[in-house]
């Protein structure tokens, strides 16, 4: 239990630092940035209770907001995906999730990809609509969501593959 706790603490801090110090300066084509810190929410153990996850995601989003001067948009998007994570889990993993026997290292690649895609796209939609905050710019919101999502999904899949090999 203690080691799980410390693993998640280290993951939290590392992801925040990577996000703030490296990934926010990529600005591919001027505005595309991957937001890989949501991996923390994605990989959080399923058996732990929901309230802890939601509180931690709020904290995670708020930390990112602090660094980026963005008010509360990352916190809001993080809490949103943490809140609806069980629904996404059920949708992408089906019956394995019902039996609570899921482990991210062992599930097949396809359903893992669906899971990350849903999580990322939802997070980015909430994030960019709160950032831009106007309906007249809906094209811009969708455009930013699409391109940043592709980037984020690619990176998160790569990161999970690298680190799951290592832990075995």
């Amino acid at each position: 239990m203690n080691s799980i706790f410390s693993v998640h603490t280290i993951r939290f801090i590392t992801l925040v630092f990577i996000q703030v110090l490296i990934l926010n300066h990529i600005n591919f084509f001027g505005y595309i940035n991957p937001y890989i810190y949501i991996l923390f929410i994605g990989l959080f153990p399923i058996k732990n209770n929901r309230i802890a996850l939601i509180l931690l995601s709020f904290l995670l989003g708020l930390t990112i907001d602090l660094f980026l001067d963005t008010g509360g948009i990352h916190a809001a998007a993080c809490v949103f995906i943490a809140y609806i994570r069980p629904i996404i889990l059920k949708f992408s993993f089906g019956t394995i999730y019902e039996h609570q026997t899921i482990r991210f290292n062992t599930v097949e690649f396809g359903s893992k990809l669906t899971y990350f895609t849903l999580l990322t796209v939802l997070h980015h939609i909430v994030l960019f609509s709160l950032e831009i905050f106007s309906i007249s710019n809906i094209i811009l919101i969708l455009q930013k969501t699409l391109f940043s999502s592709i980037f984020t999904i690619l990176l998160s899949v790569i990161v999970t593959i690298i680190f799951s090999k290592e832990s075995k």
């Binding site: 703030v20 110090l21 926010n24 600005n27 001027g30 505005y31 940035n33 929901r50 309230i51 939601i54 509180l55 709020f58 989003g61 708020l62 907001d65 602090l66 660094f67 980026l68 001067d69 963005t70 008010g71 509360g72 948009i73 916190a75 809001a76 809490v79 949103f80 809140y83 709160l130 950032e131 831009i132 710019n137 811009l140």
Partner: protein, 254 residues
Amino acid sequence: MLLFCVSLVFTIQSHSYHKSKFINSANFLTGGVYNSVNNVSSYFNLKSQNQLLAEENKRLRSILHNSEVEIDSIFIDSLTFGESYRFFSSNIIKNSYSLNNNILTLNKGTNDSIKQDFGVISSKGIIGIIDKTSRNYSTVISILNTTSRISAQLKKTNHFGTLTWNGKDPKFTQLIDIPKISPVSIGDTIITSGRSSIFPKGVRVGVIEDFKLDQAENYYEINVRLFNDMTNIEHVYIIENADKQEITNLLSNN
């Protein structure tokens, strides 16, 4: 409990345009992190920053040595004002240009007598206005911020308008509310108007890229190509207007 958290988020979100006092990067933790990282990363663009500073030195030197000869020159330079403006030099430790509301962080704060609403310029032109300050750091509302409104004018005539940003391209800002009667042409220089008591008159902004009439056909909307490359700025100057108190007192008495 769940709903409580969600509502808490949206409370903070709803205040994000007033920018709640405690969530900004001028605080001790984030300012400290950005400062230490900037200590390292600033070495990577030393060359281009040196070039910018050398260019400015050259320009200032040419003004200095030519001033006795051309004492009645009408050349207005961004760094020659009366005694009423004080300048502080500072470094940008966090730059941002890809969001809709971009905010920068500087490594000077209230310990260096920096206060809210001071102007920020670089050697090439306008950057933004100081927003929040802590003891050692301060945040700047960049001109690349959709909520930023700065008074600017044409250099050759005194027609003035408002400098805004539409959130699309960090190379361009938009100058609106220039009257239809004014002689606008592509390539003209835009400078600050000095009407706002934040910036002195004559800080360079950019050149006109293209322009069109707005929907009511009474005012021009002008696309301004900035002199500054907002993606590559490091050394900036903070401007304090010593007469600001007097001007605001006078205006509020009316």
